[in-house]
């Protein structure tokens, strides 16, 4: 998928770890309850400590909450601009001067369970960038960015893979 004619600025980024950062707060059960409540998830793993002890050796967070722990606060002291999740995606839009973008696919792979009190960190890795493509949206490039999530013991807890399409309208 990688184009040999990629700008060197982009070629250098492929398979390189970027934006390694810690979550803004430890994993906590309040958000677990709110998430389960939002979808009426009665799985006793998240509500009954005895069941959680028996099956998962203690409470865990729903696996699909993995990205929740990394969404920045809407505001925090000293921040003058809203923080942007998935910075690599916005970098590519800027480098290729593609004003629009959509995510076309999202894959999440779950590894070690996430537990209340865990302090997670994340890092972004650009895996590939396509040659220029034209779709019904416009002309641009597809790219694949992986986000790895690790816990405080350096154990992998999950990997998210996003396929984005950055494009410019009106060139189809």
């Amino acid at each position: 998928m990688t184009d040999r004619d990629l700008p060197s600025e982009v070629e250098k980024l492929i398979d390189r770890v970027q934006y390694e950062e810690a979550g803004e707060f430890p994993v906590e059960r309040g958000y677990v309850y709110t998430s389960c409540s939002s979808v009426e998830n009665g799985n006793p793993l998240f509500w009954d400590d005895d069941v959680a002890q028996q099956i998962t050796n203690g409470p865990i967070a729903p696996p699909t909450m993995i990205s929740v722990w990394f969404r920045p606060h809407q505001w925090s002291p000293g921040r003058t601009e809203p923080a942007v999740p998935l910075q690599s995606h916005f970098d590519l839009k800027r480098i290729f001067e593609l004003p629009e973008a959509v995510m076309t696919d999202n894959t999440i792979v779950f590894h070690e369970p996430v537990r209340p009190g865990d302090c997670l960190r994340t890092r972004q890795i650009l895996r590939s960038v396509s040659e220029p493509k034209t779709t019904k949206l416009g002309t641009g490039r597809f790219w694949v960015i992986e986000v790895e999530y690790l816990n405080q013991n350096d154990e992998l807890v999950g990997v998210e893979s996003y396929t984005g399409f950055g494009y410019r309208r009106g060139e189809s």
Binding site: Y31, T34, S35, C36, S37, S38, V39, E40, N41, G42, N43, P44, L45, W47, D48, V51, I55, T56, N57, P62, P63, T64, M65, S67, V68, R71, Q74, M103, T104, D105, N106, T107, I108, V109, F110, H111, E112, P113
Partner: protein, 161 residues
């Protein structure tokens, strides 16, 4: 609170099995609660004026992480708490708005035991509104192969999601 006490065994699942359908009437509260639970503050998930006049959509709409949470709930309602998600792949095709009744349905596409002895079901989940596909999700979920097997105890090279 409704708790799930099912324990679905790998041997009880076969290709073509249909999961029990879930129909849910979506309200503005569903959308806003789901977005805030996911710490997604973007206005198109809570601000009608922004969604309609800036995004050009007909209303606020459900965000992707909340859809993932709905898929997880749907799958573990079927498997019970011993079912362990290994992988989910989404493809978004349309949006879910207040006033919609979203329907989650699914069929088992594949069953296999990996070389670590873990039993896996691959399930194709469809989220539809009025029969129109809005999101499809292929999920791989580990199920106990014996009464003593618990997928949650698998680590390292015993867990190959």
């Amino acid at each position: 609170m409704t708790t799930t006490t099912t324990k679905l065994m790998f041997a009880d699942v076969k290709v073509g099995d249909a999961l029990p359908e879930l129909a849910y009437p979506v309200s503005a509260t569903t959308i806003v609660l789901g977005a805030l639970a996911a710490r997604d503050w973007r206005p198109m998930h809570h601000d009608y004026d922004f969604a309609v006049n800036r995004n050009g959509t007909k209303d606020i709409f459900m965000n992707t992480p909340n859809q993932a949470a709905w898929f997880e709930r749907f799958l573990t309602d079927w498997s019970g708490p011993t079912g362990r998600l290994g992988r989910m792949k989404f493809r978004m095709k349309g949006s879910v708005f207040p006033g919609d009744t979203m329907v989650l349905s699914a069929t088992v596409e594949q069953v296999e035991t990996d070389d670590a002895g873990c039993g896996w079901a691959t399930v194709l989940v469809r989220l539809t509104v009025d029969g129109e596909l809005m999101t499809d999700c292929t999920a791989r979920i580990a199920l106990p192969t014996t009464d003593d097997d618990n997928p949650w105890t698998r680590r390292g090279d015993q867990w190959k999601p």
